[in-house]
Every structure is written in structure tokens, then in C-alpha cells.
Symmetry: C2
Subunit: 511 residues, 2 copies
Amino acid sequence: MARQGRTGGRRGRAQANALEKPSAPPYITRNIPPYELLGEVDLAQIESNADLILEEIGIDIKDDPDAIAVLVGAGATADAERVRFPRGMCRELIQKSAPAMFTQYARNPKNNVIIGGKHTVLVPAYGPPFVYSREGGRRYATIEDFRNFVKLAYMSPNLHHSGGTICEPVDLPVNKRHFDMVYSHIKYSDKAFMGSVTAPPRAEDSVAMAKLVFGDEFVEQNCVLVNLINANSPLTFDSVMFGALRVYASHNQATMVSPFIVAGAMSPVTVAAVAAQSLAEGLVGMAYAQIIRPGAPVIYGNFVSSMSMQSGAPTFGSPEASQVINIGASLARRLGVPFRSAGGFTSSKTADAQAAYEAANTMQHGLLAGVNFMLHTAGWLEGGLAMGYEKFVMDADQAGMMRVYAQGVDMSENGQALDAIREVGPGQHFLGSVHTQNNFKTAFYRSDIADNNSYEQWVEDGSLDAEQRAEKVYKKMLADYVPPPLEEAIDEALLDYIKQKKDSFEDSNIS
Amino acid sequence: MARQGRTGGRRGRAQANALEKPSAPPYITRNIPPYELLGEVDLAQIESNADLILEEIGIDIKDDPDAIAVLVGAGATADAERVRFPRGMCRELIQKSAPAMFTQYARNPKNNVIIGGKHTVLVPAYGPPFVYSREGGRRYATIEDFRNFVKLAYMSPNLHHSGGTICEPVDLPVNKRHFDMVYSHIKYSDKAFMGSVTAPPRAEDSVAMAKLVFGDEFVEQNCVLVNLINANSPLTFDSVMFGALRVYASHNQATMVSPFIVAGAMSPVTVAAVAAQSLAEGLVGMAYAQIIRPGAPVIYGNFVSSMSMQSGAPTFGSPEASQVINIGASLARRLGVPFRSAGGFTSSKTADAQAAYEAANTMQHGLLAGVNFMLHTAGWLEGGLAMGYEKFVMDADQAGMMRVYAQGVDMSENGQALDAIREVGPGQHFLGSVHTQNNFKTAFYRSDIADNNSYEQWVEDGSLDAEQRAEKVYKKMLADYVPPPLEEAIDEALLDYIKQKKDSFEDSNIS
């Protein structure tokens, strides 16, 4: 199902001279089966419940009569802004034309990613208005932070994507910062990236800038942008998100339709209900994209948090959220579209043990569920309000562990290693055996962050905790950063476009 | 297969007046399927490789001619201390008589645990000679620490067992400290516990003390002690461990035969080889127990660490170790015995993010693999050299999350909650809905450690990280501790036994 790319003119040039990267592959290919928490009967029940929700209760589409008209034209019924769908209508639209798997092209073809099927793409966190570091504490994010995180993602061999709003550059005007974000992804990285969704014209700008890199025709025929379309749960879409979806789908770019649910507030508190409601919301968004342009890539997304009984705050890394992630992945496979979920979620304010337990719980369950696009893999702190420098490199290290687990078990003769056991025998050690010597370098994942030394050695090294060691790691990465080459003509074209557009309207911080 | 207990005389009295405990069940019953990393063909290959190892390479049994004679009598061949087994011999012995599932009785019957099948028992860490706390740093463990951790395990609703050598009381003589350890488990807790294995007479003392609590006949017919028998990998057992195994098996107590493998040192570096070697070692120990006393409970154990390429130190929470845990669980199910593995493993020296990532990775993979007895669930630090006070309560909190995940998904009408979605409808919130009100109290797992508050609230509360909050939690628990009632006659009988035995030989710290 993966589409094959054609190397366009500008794109071909942009991809020349790309730097060699460390040995990790550009995305994960899972040689392991998915973990299926629910069986056929329960999954069919949840699908039926989603259909019931769409048929009987319906969803609201706010301030977007065009979208309502188009959906009614495809078989839905509307009562003012409430739209209802006959059973199976959305599913049928999606299954008729949406690809099960597609390639997102990067300006360095070595970094193209396949989204869907047995593949998993690990992506930085998205959206935090704050940054956190040991050195600077918590403060508003700036465009310099944005560039820093793009650089860190570029240099992290186990992150496969540059992400989107890796943090909000709040030192720039709200209505113009998307230019600097998209430019930074292109300039400081050569991995695939995401477009702006905060207003339809900003989506158009994202597409226009991508065309300056990849060429007009290439963009219209291939996916170079993946874009996050959040539902306003429960059961509501608005003209901003549907407007951005329209822009991207009409240019054949990928839209990721993601209900954002804090269970108890935006949905019932129970897992089966969250799963059904989330599916209903996703079905509508993805079906709409297929009506706009049949065949435009869509991704079913799931973002679910449970809620603290004490404070009403969202909580992360919880067993309930892990269950919803698992069910969502099964539902996406049955529907036949890629699935986005999980990430290094936490409510913690620092990169402490809470942050790590919660992130690890979510990432491991996401991996085994078979998530295809793991937005928020690295950096997330404070329920998504802060992007952490130390947390980023810690999570990126965990990303490497996910890659190794997903490789599965080597059952070759070398993997079975009976000759090694024969050679060494009872009571002896394997350190010097031929098999160990031959396999040692690649046998185990190597962490940059973990300290496995003796207590005495650790004390001699300064008794640093993981956060302190991570601080050293990210600072060294930023110091060592070398930008990927970017053809001068493309760079100039991008800067010209940005200048012209920025000069054409006033700065605003309203929205 | 679970044996039903008969309430003996002393046991009946000891169990009277037991305190009411919080609402968590005494052990986990998994309503979720196990995750199977490998399929039939690969698992059969690993079983065949284990048979090949036993038939062709054999294992060494050191300084234990009796054990060799018994195994030869059952069909093995011996060349000095090297013992080889015909294909299938060990498996057949085990499958003929070992229970797939059994009950371990606690002195409070509410805390009896079922080991095997769909059940998971979460158990504190075992063996650390050091303790670590924020307050006291790292220092040698004492009997006071031992008592403290027994108390903490007793008070942790999601830990199901009191464990064994919860830490080494190094302030007591090596050859007498087992009396104080076993006594502490009985006196300060009423959960099930483990016996001493460091010398056969200490195993005899453990059984004798258990008989003072449960009655002679009850012990001979039911499991009241689970005991850890480590192989000296690769492929070696010694007379100490086999001697302890003989004592326990002959009294019908459970033995957990656990290869302890740092891959690269005690086995080849590859996952499939570790799995086959570990199975070979486990098969011999469990078969031996079945020869000693057919039907005595056995548990197949797996303790596997990968190795740091930089230092040779063991590493934890690694993807390779998680794979071995998964395969071990599948092999145990195929063999038909309970499985012990996983835990809150880490190489970290403190309860920092490294500790939490590594612990969470191992615990979640252990949970989904279907581990039945998770020794080392709580407290483990520094590769098992230190027991952490803060880490203990953090891990115990994670234990609660495992319980909730394992409950599975509520697919009842209340779980599906379609009426709630009907009631609330698009664009509204669920906070005040009837369904939310009815389910809110039990909907989500509540963590004692996580801080989900806003950044501002967190700062107002002192900007504490998870380790600092955990310090408060364990100190409050110890301050609030109330001992479970213990019949005076039993207490006196235990103290008499200990005094008499301790007076009968000199203190020694040699072994």
C-alpha cells in the first residue's frame, strides 16, 4: 500500500549531500505481534457503539456550514449544527479510499518514514508553551528553544521525525510564528515534519513552504506534511480544525484526526465508553477528509488521559489510559488506517521518577499496542504544558530501547548460539567466547543516560542523578550540532516567501 | 489445581482477629490475555535447544553425590559431577506431578495467595545488603531496616507478600540472622513469606518456625513457604542450593528454581540462547524437586540482566531482558508450572528517573507476559545491592497500577456507558452526569506519589520531586504502623525456639 515517491527537481537537489547518520533505521519495523487486549466480540461491540453514537446522538460541527453540506451530500442528516450518520457510512467512506500505509517524505530521502502497518515512527512532543531545564527552571518557550529542540530531534538517532509545534515560540506573534516554525524544521533538520493547523491560511502557508522544498507537483502527489486535527471532545468539530483539515486533504497531505479526551470531563469515566466515543469522533474526521480528496492519507489518533479525583487535573501513565491506547490500535487495524497514540506522557513538573514511570508506562503499552505514529515520544512534561530539555534526551534514549524490543528475537543459528554453550560449558564464563566476541558490539542496547557503574564509581563521578546526566547529554548535543546542508536557492526562496507574507499583514497575538 | 487448605489448630487461632485491610484484593487475577512474543515454532525450538543442552552438554552438580545418585536413578547419566539427561526426561517428571497452580497460606487467611494460572503475586525485593534513603544515604542494612520493610510491605495494599530476605540484616551474625528474618515476617506482618536458603539447616529452621505458626500437619500438607533456589549459571547447581531445595521439597514447601543470568557472562549474549539455557537449568531443579517429593509445588524462575559494554556491569530495564521475561512466561505455561520473573529492577543508585524508567519497563513487560510471582517488585536499587525506602513506596504505587490494568476492560452496560453519552451529548462536559457521579470514586487508580497539580500549586507545596514525596509517604506509613495480632502462645513458642537454637552454636560471619 505504501506509495512510491518520484524524485522531483528541487527535492532531488535538496536531498543531495545529506549527512550520514548513526546506524539506527529511519523508522521502526515491528517484527513482533501486537498485543490485543480485547477480542473480536468486544471490539465489534465498541464499533457498534460508535455507530450508535453517530446515528442516534450525532456530532456538532460548529460554524462550518460548508462541511455540514458536504457531509449531508454524502448521506448524513443535519439538524442545524448537529449531524448524524447512518450506520457504517463513515467506515465505508474511509475503507473505500484511505491508504492503510503511506510514506511521508523528508527532504533527506534517508529520513523518509513509512506510516502504518508494521511500522512505528517516534516523534517529539507537540504544543508546550513552556520549557523546563535544570539550569533555567520553567519559563515561556522562545523560537531559540524551538530551534534547539529541532536540533536535538535531528541528532537523536531513535527519533524519526522533527515533529510540529515542538514548543510554542511565544516570543513571536501568534499569527506569524508558524512561518518560523516550519522554516526551522526545514533549515535545522532534514527529517519529516508537521504543518500548522491553528488557522486555514497557516495551513496554506505550510503547504506553500513545503512546495518550495519539494516542488509543486511532488507535494500534490505525495505526503510531505502530517497534520494534527484535534476534535473538541465530546463529539464536536469546529471550523478552525475542519478548515485546516480541508486545506491539507485537498493538497493530498496527511491529517491525523485525534480526539483529545480527559475522561470524566470530555467523556464518561469508563474505558469502553472512551474508546467508542473516540472512534466515533475519529470516523467523522477521517470520512470528511476522504470526501474532500479520496485517497488523501489519514491517521486515526487517540489522546486520552484519566482525571485526578482530588483536583480534576489530567493524569498520565495510568492503567486506564494504557487500555484505551491498546483498544484504539486494534480499532485502527480493523478500520485499515494508521494509528497515532501514546508518548512520554507525565504530569510531573521535572524529569524525576514520576515523569519516568508515567512516560515508560505509556511508551511500552503504546509499543506493544502497535502504535504507528507516536507523537509526544520525547520531552513532554507537566501534562503537555512544558517541554523538558533533560526529559527530551531521556525519552529519546527510551525510544532506542523500543526500537530494539520491536526488532523481535533473533532465532537464527547465531541467535540460538548452541555452539557457544557447547564451547563454554557448565561453570565457565562466556566473556571470552568466540560468540560473545563476535556479537558483543551489537548485542545490547546502549543507553547514553543510564549509569550502570558501581556505587563507588558513581560517587567518584559526582553522584549525579539521571536528570543531571541528561543535562550534560543535551548540552553536548547542542554544542556538537552541525546543520544538514540545505540548497541555497531553496533557503532563499523560503526566506523570501516568509518576508513577503509577514510584511503583508499586521502582527497579532489574539489567535 | 489449587489445593484447598484445612484450618489447623494453631493456625486457626493465629488467624483470628486479623485486621481489616484496604480494598485491594490479596493477589491479582488477570482478566487480560498474556502477550506472546514468540509463536509455536520458535518456542518449540527453544524447548528443543534446552533438551539438547541437557542431553549433550549436561549440567554440573557440585559437591552433592546424593543428588547425582537420585537423578541417575531417575534416568540421567553421570560422568563425575557432569550429569546428562535424556530428551524430555525432566519435562516428563515435572508434568507428571508438579501443580500448575497452588495456594500459599498466610497466617491471616485473607492474605493467602494463589500462585500460578491467571494470578499474579507482587512481592518485595530480595537480598540487598545495603539500604538507601534520602535521609540516610547508602549504608549497610540492619534488622531494624528489615523490620521496617516488612512493615511497609504489610501496609502496602498492592503488595501481596512479605517476601524473604527483604534486606540483609548485616548487624546480625550470618549464621543466625535467618531466625530474626523469619520471626520478623511472622511478627510484623500477616502476609505470606519466604524461608531461608543459605544452608540446609537454616531451611530446616524456617520449616520448624512455620510449623509453630501453622501446625505440623498443616505444613506437611500445604505450602506456607516459597523458597528461592538460584542456579549457579551457566548450568551448575551446588550442594547448598540443592540442599535447601531438598529440605523444602521434602516438607512439601514450594521451591522457585531461578537461573540468575547476566547475559554475556553467565550465558551467550543472545536472547534465544539465554532462554534455552535458563529453561535447561530450571528443568533440572524442578525435576529434582519432583523426584524428592512428587507434587511439591515448584515455580520456574527467570532472572536475566543484560551487560554494559562499557563496564561489564549488569544493566536493567533493557529491551533484551524484557524479551527473555516474555519468552520465559510462555515456556512456563507450556510446561504447566507457575512463573517467577520481572520486578522493579534498576542499576540506579537513587530513586531517580533512571530507576523509574528501568523499573516500569520491567514491570509492565512482566505484567503482560503473565508473570505469576513477581519477586523484587518493590524497593530494588543499584542492581539489587540496595533496598530503597523511597523506591519501595514508589514501586508499590506502580503495583497498584498493574492491578488495575490486569482487571481488564469493563464491557458491562455501565462500562459501555451509552446512556451517559446520550445524557450529556456533544459539546457538554461529563463532570456532573449521573454516570460520572456513580462511578467516579472507583473509576481511576489513585496514586499516592504522583503530583498532578498545576505548576503553581506544586511550587506552593514546596516544589518536591517524586523522591521527596515518597520520603513523606514511607515515613508516615512507619509512623502509622499497627502490628497485626499474633497469638501470645505462638509468639512465645517462636521466641523459645529461636533462643534455644541460637544458644546451641557459636556466632559466625563466615557464611
